[in-house]
Symmetry: C2
């Protein structure tokens, strides 16, 4: 769960999506990412790290360069959850109408839904 949240968090940033999009085309060093997207070195490096930590990227060092690329294996790990949740939703496992009666006063354990002890 925590992993999944982390993955989504990594995807919920425009810069990182742009980076991901760039890397979908080809492997890049921090340097290229920063040039291609016209962002600072710090920003490129930090966001690449974030994507890496989330398991989206693979890192290969070559001399001075840190070469990042999409990590197909990493993707495979979290993907099932994501796709599964989405597929279920799309299939629309018939939304069952609830017997809302069980929420009424009589059946409530504590102060019922109303957690607020109104004055």
């Amino acid at each position: 769960m925590r992993e999944l949240v982390k993955a989504f968090k990594a995807l919920s940033d425009e810069t990182r999506l742009r980076i991901l999009n760039l890397l979908l085309e080809r492997e890049c060093c921090v340097c290229e990412v920063m040039q291609a997207l016209d962002i600072s070195q710090t920003r490129a490096s930090r966001n690449l790290s974030a994507l890496y930590d989330a398991g989206f990227l693979k890192l290969r060092k070559d001399g001075l360069w840190s070469l990042y690329s999409i990590d197909q294996e990493g993707m495979k790990e979290y993907l099932p959850y994501l796709v599964d949740a989405v597929r279920k939703a799309l299939e629309g496992n018939e939304v069952v109408a609830l017997d809302r009666g069980r929420l009424r006063k009589a059946e409530r354990v504590g102060p019922g839904c109303g957690q607020q002890a109104m004055k």
Copy 2:
């Protein structure tokens, strides 16, 4: 793009994933969500709103209740991007080795990669 970021942002929170998971089973009112997940009313309401704003949920009012459920249509909207990006990644459009030579001094436009004017 902004929409996609928003969608991912909505998914990058444990509470919201739990809510989504609950709603995948059945339509629920704020009340039920808050009981099922043992969270405050404010928290349930706010996070449901977030998911709703991101286009994941459908809202149906019935008397006092706000009944939320997965919005299959909404899902369909952003899904293509998501699935597409992921699919591309998994297919692994052959990572092309770059001619890193183009990064070398001679070809650089400005101060090259090195944006930092070192002392």
